[in-house]
């Protein structure tokens, strides 16, 4: 059990409960609805039905229809309306059913939510958190698998957060909702029910066997902009987030590789200090993400590491990513940056 979890348990009533990521997200939303009367949840199917992934189950019944409600199928409308609610003084938490469907809302996110504080010199702000399931590994094909985080990390004024465990999902979501800046909160749906080793042909491992499924019942928050050390090691640094945290960890375990794995958790603002400290220690860096390679967030990470840790590097920075193709359906496991691709990249870096 991580120190963070232990500390959090020590400050709560100490009951050890194990939740999956869906339950952790649901609990974070429930707590924030109860704590702050300005928190509003809306999106397609989030109300009565409780969400296609059950993340909002029971919340409408508990908090009422004007706090948690269904919307028309219009991502532009959902986000635009949330900007207006934020201008009024609410703290909306809109859901976009799949990150693949966030694009109709991009103008409202990029031109409006992200710029509002700046362009109005703080007269109006957009304190909203856009939750959206993202990532592949579920046979979701082209439009239920994408990882569009780089579109958002490129926008000044937005924060981008991606949890990889139930414990983090709850603490980061609470912090995101309380943050006065617009936050894109991507939930890796492949690991909603359990961490993923990258071996799609093995049975799903439930969260309850993972330390980070111990989630305190009470309110707690994990600060945005702080990475988590998944495992400590000296051989190389692996920078990753979301589902790939678990895949990279499993590969290292299997290979007996003594990697320093950082789960970035927040991409903007990035925990640059943690990255620098780790790469300066190991002298080698591997970046792993599911998203396509060209102009992906890995390119930014690679540039930062090269610029800031150049004289500590003993090997070129490597990137393991999805291929530069739309996400395929039948060939998902040829596309997915799995154990072979990661393992070979580790071998290559360590052989330099």
């Amino acid at each position: 059990m991580s120190t963070e979890v232990k500390e959090a348990l020590a400050t709560s009533n100490g009951t050890e409960r194990r939740l999956n990521m869906i339950e952790a997200i649901n609990e974070a939303l429930d707590i924030m609805l109860a704590r702050d009367p300005d928190v509003i949840i809306m999106g397609e199917d989030v109300g009565y039905f409780g969400g296609v992934f059950r993340c909002t189950a029971g919340l409408q019944e508990k908090h009422g229809k004007t706090r948690v409600f269904d919307t028309p199928i219009s991502e532009c409308g959902i986000i635009g309306v949330a900007v207006g609610m934020g201008a009024y003084g609410l703290r909306p938490v809109p859901e976009i059913q799949f990150a693949d469907y966030i694009y109709p809302g991009l103008d409202q996110l990029i031109s409006e939510a992200a710029r509002l504080r700046y362009r109005s010199a703080t007269e109006f702000i957009a304190p909203m958190t856009v939750r959206s399931p993202f990532g592949g590994g579920i046979f979701g094909g082209q439009t239920h698998s994408q990882s569009p985080e780089a579109l958002f990390t490129h926008v000044s004024g937005l924060k981008t957060v991606i949890p990889s465990t139930p414990y983090d999902a709850k603490g980061l979501l609470i912090a995101a909702i309380e943050d006065n800046d617009p936050v894109i909160f991507f939930e890796p749906k492949r690991i909603y029910n359990g961490p993923f080793s990258g071996y799609y042909d093995k049975p799903v491992e439930p969260w309850k066997r993972h330390d980070a499924s111990v989630v305190p019942e009470d309110y707690y928050r994990i600060p945005l902009g702080k990475a988590r050390t998944v495992r400590e090691g000296d051989a190389l640094t692996i920078l990753t987030y979301g589902t790939m945290v678990h895949v990279a960890e499993a590969v290292c375990r299997e290979k007996g590789c003594d990697a320093d794995i950082l789960d970035l958790r927040t991409l903007v603002p990035l925990d640059i200090e943690a990255i620098e400290a780790s790469v300066e220690k190991t002298g080698r860096c591997l970046i792993v993400h599911e998203a396509t390679r060209t102009s992906g967030f890995g390119a930014e990470l690679s540039a930062l590491v090269t610029e800031r840790c150049f004289y500590h590097l003993e090997a070129p920075v490597e990137r393991v990513t999805g291929f530069d193709t739309p996400y395929p359906h039948s060939l998902e496991w040829a596309y997915f940056p799995g154990p072979v691709r990661i393992g070979e990249a580790i071998d290559k870096i360590l052989s330099e």
């Binding site: 028309p72 409308g77 207006g84 990035l270």
Partner: protein, 431 residues
């Protein structure tokens, strides 16, 4: 063709033709607006504010008018405003026009980069704003400066913003005329068209969620109704019965594109309301009393939880789109004088004269006062600098307010900007 007919499958069917709309008049053409139906102001019926949208189906195809050809107020829509209120309305519109004139000239003199007039459309913001409560939230486009002036926003503040000078409370970040004033319940203007329409609906929904009594109103040009956001706004407004007024300013032109490119050849913009189940009104936008009456009708409706209203104000963009536009390149110069609904200021003036509450001397005096006021405000604002003359906010403010707190990467970039300044001006330069 015979060969083709013999060899191409389906060639016995008629060929299709793409219809590309074309405005009636182009530069040099004689203008005749006889095709525009202008109903009489007399005898117009004002429906109950609690009416069901389906019972209002004639209104989106009509034209609500109050001021008749005799310059008198007629019919049930007459808001019966007292003369003092009418004179205030006239004065606000005159001030907006005087302001536009001077700012346009300021741009030509190089004091700023850009300006947009609202000439001919003053009633659609001034009279509408007068029908709302001062704390009803407005989500304007870039051509509703009349709302700010009606709400008493300081002209010096407006000019500071236009000049992006050191007095600009938006810190020189925004293009001229993209005002913001929370104090005046005037939402920050964005360059991205129609984005404000779902935002207004969201604000109105928030007001309803909190059991507040304030309503929201938004303004959008007829060209921008083609944006997807407008469809979202109408859908959300009707689904949640949001207390919002969706004002469409149909001034016939979207830069060089006539309203036909937004769909006006076959229907009215007010008629869009019918498909959404919104109350819809089509109003003479150059009739200040009709504008006031329609906005008040919609405001009463929204305030009583009667739901949203879509209003089309039928008007004419008398000037170019902006200081960067020359309308003589795409439309006939005589359109403005031929416009059948006249000029909103002139019509209200003639009404006040007709009822014995005004005269040409007072009008001339009022115009002089408006020009003097704008001139004085301009001089005052120029003390804070004009664009490009170095009197702007300190460079470090460029990095602030991107986020609530300055993240490390922006701190580093701010430091780089500071360094660049030292290299450029080693002997030091005031911020």
């Amino acid at each position: 063709m015979a060969d083709k007919a013999a060899t191409t499958p389906g060639s016995n069917r008629p060929s299709l033709e793409l219809h590309v709309p074309e405005p009636k008049f182009r530069p040099g053409d004689a203008v005749d607006f006889g095709h525009i139906a202008i109903p009489s102001a007399e005898g117009q019926k004002r429906p109950d504010e609690a009416s069901e949208p389906r019972d209002l189906s004639e209104y989106p195809y009509g034209l609500v008018r109050v001021l008749g050809d005799d310059d008198r107020a007629h019919g049930e829509w007459d808001p019966k405003l007292d003369p003092e209120t009418l004179r205030t309305m006239l004065r606000n519109m005159a001030l907006v026009r005087a302001f536009d004139e001077r700012m346009f000239r300021g741009q030509r003199q190089g004091k700023t980069s850009f300006y947009m007039k609202c000439t001919g459309e003053e009633a659609t913001s001034v009279a509408a704003a007068m029908a709302l409560a001062s704390d009803d939230m407005v989500f304007p486009s870039y051509r509703q400066q009349g709302i700010l002036i009606t709400r008493g926003y300081d002209l010096v503040e407006m000019i500071n913003q236009i000049y992006s000078n050191k007095g600009d409370k938006l810190l020189g970040r925004q293009l001229p005329i993209m005002y913001s004033s929370r104090e005046h319940s005037f939402f920050s203007i964005s360059g991205n068209l129609a984005t404000q329409t779902p935002q207004a609906v969201g604000w109105a929904m928030a007001s309803a969620i909190k059991r507040d009594s304030r309503i929201a109103a938004t303004w959008v040009g007829e060209g921008s109704t083609a944006e997807g956001d407008f469809h979202s706004a109408c859908t959300f407004a009707t689904v949640y019965n949001a207390p919002v007024i969706l004002n469409v300013i149909n001034n016939q032109w979207a830069i060089s594109s006539f309203s036909g490119f937004a769909g006006a050849e076959r229907t009215t913009f007010a008629a869009r309301a019918l498909g959404y189940g919104l109350a819809g009104l089509r109003v003479d936008g150059n009739d200040a009393l009709a504008v006031y009456a329609a906005q008040a009708w919609a405001a009463n409706r929204a305030r009583a939880n009667g739901g949203p209203t879509l209003i089309e104000y039928f008007t004419y963009r008398a000037e170019g789109h902006s200081t960067s536009d020359d309308p003589s390149g795409y439309r006939s110069a005589t359109e403005r004088e031929e416009w059948p609904l006249g000029d909103p200021i002139n019509r209200l003036k003639k009404h006040l004269i007709a009822i014995g509450e005004w005269d040409e001397e007072r009008q001339a005096e009022m115009d002089r006062e408006a020009a003097e006021r704008v001139k004085a405000a301009t001089k005052e604002a120029e003390k804070n600098g004009i664009l490009g003359h170095g009197m702007h906010h300190p460079f470090r403010t460029m990095f602030q307010d991107v986020y609530e707190e300055l993240p490390w990467h922006l701190k580093e970039q701010a430091e780089q900007a500071r360094h660049e300044r030292e290299v450029k001006w080693p002997e030091g330069k005031p911020e």
